[in-house]
Subunit: 225 residues, 4 copies
């Protein structure tokens, strides 16, 4: 990466990318719930396809600049693997969280809703925590394996994985602490009660750690193709 | 681009591409509304997927010839960045607008409707204008960032972005002045009242300008990968 | 292409590809109509997505061997452009037609239906003929333009185009004489009355001819990228 | 493949890949049935899109390590073609079967269901067996043809094929003996009665054998592009 890609630009990229990601997740959830006449499967289908399509665009846009993490556990995993200088982890995570809240506010503005209003959507219990563990394990696994063997496909692999994970996990796969915090501030389709966010985040950290260890063994850095 | 790709061919490409784009947007909207038995989410899903799929084909078809703008704000942004000779901007925009109307007429012909009939679909207000600002900002951002870092993916990134934007904006993301004008002439699913088009277009220009400035700073032309 | 790719293999490829294409179109139509509880938009969405996905696979499978035409107007257009030796056009078209009927019979077998039974689905009139003209014009346009400028993307461009064309044309875009003949022999979702097939085929030939002329001017063979 | 890619890693890859595949198929089936309010077409659409998207991610993740078979008939076909050392076939198949059951259990855990409970979903009869023959014939055909002519596209071709096959076969295309066994242990949307699994598996073996013979003739190993 050239010297022009300063820290400032990388942080702007993470801010914008995470903000757009949340605008897509929350905005499409609102639109889907409004239009779907009570058929929750149609609503989740629209929400999942919009998120997957949005991720393709966002990762292609920002991947070459910041790595397109948009996700604190991705940043921590990359720093652990020494793909990201350790001192950048905290700034990355900070702008991701600020960006996530900005994205929720932007979506609310598009749908004439308050800037923030806490979710009442209960998402808790063993099966949901297990879901978040699996979802985040899989996300980090996709990122490490594809970026080390065919990096041009990573944006498509991640987007496809998340589209599937909306459906195969009972939690609809948050898999992202910044997303979990920000979605606590929207009482719409995509919301999560603030009290339930910490349990999700704990399982996300655990899933990401397990995947980082296992996939660094499966795909050691020295093995190139 | 070789010398054979004369202005004439480029303008034909912009005309055909914009006409097909409008035929896809308006035609699939009519089909979707007719078949969806009142479930607006199913209709919008079909409309969004058809538009995204159509854009993949159209941008791949015409990208190497005219740049596949199909959109006056894209043309203005490209001219501002000096990717397009300034004197081509006006001809490009003219054929885009003519093409857009031709596409609406073609779609109406396929569904036994009048050539043109003004829309009565109200799309106005602060939240919709904010939506158009965001939608167009994002579109120009996708184009500049991907075309400067991995141009082979631009057709897919743009199509994915627009598919998502149908869902995450309350305006369903027109993001295109030629589209906004032509969709005023169809009183079907995709229509917009003529009186509401200027507000949309103003916000599209503003969003495109902001994205052009910000993303030229993020991805300066001299930085190549 | 190596000398091993004899005519025999190319004809087997065209036979299998066209048979699978019809099995996908007719089979997914039967499944969609059976399951969709009367919501025709959901049925057409499944039918269109299955067809588009099937086309990606089939064109990638057979493109390097036979060109993956699966369609007499594509074969005629390729022969006209001298991409296919003229004496192969008739054998290609013959196996495409036989393959199309075999595919319908295979689909009927999968759903416990008679081998063939004539459709009663009326598809006629000016607006449907105009639809078939547009649909086939666009298909040939996609093939010529992408195969001359970025041939690796042609399978995806064609599949995306057809997915969109199911929705934006009132005829749901047959765009293929072999498909039109074979779908006359299935009285299911995808059927067309035998008496209506000739009108569709005439417009398909006209659309293909116009696109061949126009796009050979837009993308002359000597212009390489 | 480097010497570091030991057998152990390849078997872990096959285990994880098959487990995730089953978690996606079964988990998304449960979610789809729960949310779709009785519209089976919407449920199957979600199930098919989640499976296709999941396959893109999983094949991209594990393809370079184990070949991403996740399927005993793929392993047998690859061993027959001498792409896989014969002595690896049995270990591959063993971990695929164990992985498949682990994936079903993981999905059940995400949705608060028993670890295993036998399916009561009858899937038998000539038309379903014919469907499994066709489905598996096509799957092996896609793998052989694309991996010999444009291997970078195989993950996308396989995923697209399976998405289509959910819809165009009356059996919804199991096409995989490990999947057939494991889905006998879930009495949910994706289940199959244990008594019906052997018939499916027999037809899958037959379809795979026919495709291996035919496509090795169509695309002989010595022909490279």
């Amino acid at each position: 990466m050239s010297s022009e890609n300063t820290l400032r630009k990388r942080l702007v990229a993470e801010f914008l990318g995470t903000a757009f990601l949340l605008a897509v997740v929350v905005g499409s959830g609102i639109m889907a719930q409004t239009l779907s006449a009570g058929n929750a499967a149609v609503a989740l289908l629209a929400n999942a396809l919009a998120t997957g399509a949005g991720l393709i665009a966002l990762i292609l846009m920002f991947g070459n600049l910041s790595g397109a993490h948009f996700n604190p556990v991705v940043t921590l995993s990359e720093a652990w693997q020494k793909n990201l200088p350790a001192q950048l982890a905290l700034p990355y995570i900070a702008v991701q969280i600020v960006g996530a809240f900005a994205g929720v506010a932007a979506a609310h503005g598009m749908f004439d809703l308050p800037v923030f209003f806490a979710s009442t959507h209960a998402r808790t219990g063993l099966s949901q925590w297990w879901s978040e563990f699996i979802a985040t394990f899989g996300l980090i696994a996709v990122i490490i394996s594809t970026s080390r063997t065919r990096p041009a496909t990573t944006p498509f692999a991640v987007a496809a994985y998340i589209t599937a994970a909306y459906w195969f996990t009972s939690s609809t796969s948050f898999a992202n602490p910044a997303v979990s915090l920000a979605r606590a501030m929207t009482d719409t389709f995509a919301g999560i009660r603030p009290i339930d966010a910490p349990g999700f985040i704990a399982m996300q950290l655990l899933g990401a750690a397990c995947a980082t260890v296992l996939f660094n063994w499966l795909y050691p850095k020295s093995s190139s193709h």
